[in-house]
Amino acid sequence: MTRRPFLFLFALAVAWLGAAAAVAEEPPSLKADVEAGKVPPMAKRLPQSPLTVDIQRSEWTIGRYGGELRTLLAKDRDIRMMVVYGYSRLVGYDEQFNLVPDILERVDNVDSRIFTFHLRPGHKWSDGHPFTTADFRYYWEDVANDPDLSPFGLPQILRVGDRGPRFEVLSETAVRFTWEEPNPQFLPALAGPSPLFIYRPAHYLRQFHSKHIGLDKAVAQAKAAGARSWAGFHQKKDEQFRFDNPDLPTLEPWINTTPLPSTRFVLVRNPYFHRVDKAGRQLPYIDRVVVNITDGKLIPAKAGTGDVELQARDLRFDNYTFLKENSKRNQFRVLLWEKGLGSQMALYPNLNVDDPAWRALMRDVRFRRALSLGINRHEINEVVYFGLAVESANTVLQRSPLFRPEFRAAWARFDVKAANALLDSLGLTQRDARGLRLLPDGRPMEIVVDTAGESTEETDVLELVRDSWRKLGIALFSRPSVREVFRKRVYSGKSMMTVWSGLNNGIPTPDMSPNELAPTAQEHLQWPMWGQYFENNRKGGEAPALPEAKELVDLYESWRRAANSAEREQIWLRMLEIHAQEVFTIGIVTKALQPIVVRNNLRNVPTEGLYSWDPGSYFGMYHPDTFWLEPRGPR
């Protein structure tokens, strides 16, 4: 007797739950297609357990469907930024820089060595085809290990000590990667703005692959399309990051519908996107994203005329006053987000400069410290950045758990007396008639700083540095060029010193790679040849000559082998400390601000945020799929 009402209640509850699920509102733009049977209803489009986006931010609200978001990019090829903003990754960073599963339902990580990925059952590509471990298998077997598609082997991230992982497909929704030694770079690489894609839409790409359709057909097909080889043709169709193939299925919130070249790209909502809001409604809220291509130098002007809903790229801090002035008339607000760079502007003494006298000086820590002490950072901050930046050495930002105030302050005060004392102790006491110190070989100390000629900001800052260095008896000249020439000059040792932004990743956690702190890449402007040496497996370039640089390489290597975060944190801190004391790069100011134009009716864009490439993916971390447009009413 007692069981019946119970059963009845249970049935009622089930019916109610079912009804609740069915009630979740369908995006209006998809209603017609759902009714016509072109796409299944929302419940069938979502994975069985979609990712519920619940953002704890005071001004954050549940949104409304619909609308069109316009933004500007400088080149057709920049359409890849939509993959950066979309930020649909296997695992991604949340606003506290924790790595959390996104496309994946769960990651099991054993000692950063064995990674087991669990997909969301029922997850689908943007064309409705199931997204399964077959797509990982296609990447592993038919792309990464295909002699034609990857003639130079696996991507570096996947290699530890030159050995790749063991790859196993455990089921339709689980794959495992096993390395013999830890690979802490693996998950951060998957969460990056330009991530390592270890999955491919196999059902789509098979039609281009010689293994699946036969070599003759693949070659004939490529020839007909004007490509040089079938591998090139496959590669062209398979650019998940370039985002230039409208036919390529995607997992991003918006699908690009426009092929290159174009001046206007239209992106439409992905009906199979795997995220929902708290109310169980499928994201994204905004139906269409329209990207107009305009010359980069005109983007501030166009953003100021209200031609965009959201714009940050190609806006610079010196546009701020112009934008603010126009914001009222054209109904937008201008936010200032913090930039994620370790230093907005830093000087890089080239330790590999080909002039022996200068090289000896550059490699002497006293000289680098003297140069750093000889910069009046406060003046630069007041004059160029309206006092809004923070005077700092080139180190990590306060938001990072690795931040220490002493790293920021190290040799970053303005102290002409101490700087002169350091220079005197180097034996540079002779001076010429102009009061310039003389090098041991009798030449006056004239430092030429190469700039990439990107902005007047660089030259403004250098002008102020020149004034204060003059008090040390050192002359500074700036030599603007263009990026390619600039890099060539640095790599070949022709350039003495360069100016560029500081650490790219200013907000690292211990689990992110400290490769920027050690000579590991040629692109590091302070030690290009040592970096090249590491990059080419100790065959090209020059071996690091300073013990501190060698220690940094060793520390980096041990970071790669470290099995847990605590150990990695110790390594990071030691590396940062070496950097602070050795002043390998001379930071000037940090926490510079990025103006962001947001139309008044665009909601859920945080007022304060971090504008950072990695980690952060610029807007990506703040979930543009939850941005929404309030219908235009009376304002």
């Binding site: 080149k75 598609l149 130079f152 570096q156 062209k236 206007r264 291509i293 002007a301 990026r483 390619e484």
Partner: protein, 332 residues
């Protein structure tokens, strides 16, 4: 005459070969190649590229081959209509240019027609009414037109259109038509949008042409045959149309040589400012990013247009002006 034409056409072959070598050399002059500038651009944004992928692209694009071989491949391809591969767009050059070429020709043709339609009557008026208020006024306008760079005019108009009317005037068609197949509505939309770029690009050219027309006509108006015609009692309008005007047209025909490449290249900077989907911005971008086959093919095409244009204007001059004769040796 036939012999002259044949000689001129044959001479075009070595000219084009020489131009192709110069073009290729100039594109190769900046240090590095496309991939270097590609990597530099990515790194400037903090992006990095997997060295494995760069190695793959280098091989795929043939950038690992010696430069003479790259040149020969490109030059041989052009003979059979294959203009090479655009690295930037990952497409054959012919596909990249596509629609843009047509739109460019359209805008440029309108511009030229606009220039003629405005410059002709004004030039004639200022010549026949020399030193009148009308002449001064129109000349002032003309000098302003020459003095203000096109792109500057475009920026000023962009600004005022926004401040006064709250609209943006960039583009060449309504946004709904971009990349859509050709329809009547699209064509109408292009016509509606094209008058602004036509006016802006045409302004400088119009002013220049007014000055030229005026100067040439003034020369002729002083001559004795005009005085004679007037003395014989011909009405002034008829005198003008029948004699000095025709004489003054020579400059106009010899201008065709430089006009043809203009049709293709358009006004690059103005097109960039107005975000016109023409070939100008694309050529500029290709040169900047060292997308060598795209840039090279563009430049070759422009050179070809100049060579053909000069030939046409030479032949037309011979045909139109009986004073020009091919005497004293062949060809040159």
């Amino acid at each position: 005459m036939l012999r002259y034409v044949v000689n001129r056409v044959l001479l075009m072959i070595p000219t084009m070969i020489a131009i192709s070598i110069i073009v290729f050399a100039i594109i190769q002059l900046p240090p590095g190649n496309y991939l270097d500038s590609y990597i530099a651009e990515l790194q400037a944004q903090g992006e990095s590229v997997d060295p494995q992928k760069i190695a793959f692209l280098k091989k795929e694009y043939g950038l690992d081959k010696p430069i003479p071989e790259q040149y020969l491949r490109w030059a041989a391809g052009m003979l059979v209509g294959d203009f090479g591969y655009s690295f930037e767009f990952n497409l054959p050059v012919s596909k990249v240019v596509g629609d843009r070429m047509f739109l460019t020709i359209l805008v440029s043709s309108f511009t030229i027609l606009f220039t003629w339609a405005v410059a002709f009557p004004i030039g004639i008026y200022s010549a026949t009414h020399q030193y009148s208020w009308g002449d001064y006024g129109l000349s002032l306008l003309g000098f302003l037109g020459i003095a203000i760079p096109n792109f500057m005019l475009a920026l000023v108009m962009l600004y005022f259109a926004n401040v006064l009317f709250g609209t943006s005037i960039g583009g060449l068609m309504g946004p709904e038509f971009i990349d859509k197949p050709w329809t009547w509505a699209k064509f109408v939309s292009i016509l509606e949008h094209s008058w602004i770029p036509v006016f802006i690009i045409g302004a400088g050219g119009t002013a220049g042409m007014i000055r030229k027309m005026r100067a040439n006509l003034l020369d002729e108006l002083q001559k004795q045959y005009v005085v004679t015609a007037r003395a014989k009692g011909l009405p002034p309008g008829k005198v003008l149309r029948k004699y000095p005007l025709r004489m003054a047209l020579n400059f106009f025909i010899s201008d065709i040589g430089s006009l043809l490449p203009h049709i293709i290249s358009g006004a690059e900077i103005t097109a960039v400012v107005l975000s016109l989907p023409t070939t100008g911005p694309m050529l500029l971008a290709a040169l900047k990013s060292q997308d060598m086959y795209l840039a090279g093919s563009f430049l070759m095409f422009l050179a070809f247009m100049i060579v053909v244009g000069v030939l046409i204007s030479d032949l037309a001059l011979v045909a139109l002006d009986p004073r020009i004769r091919l005497t004293g040796g062949i060809a040159r």
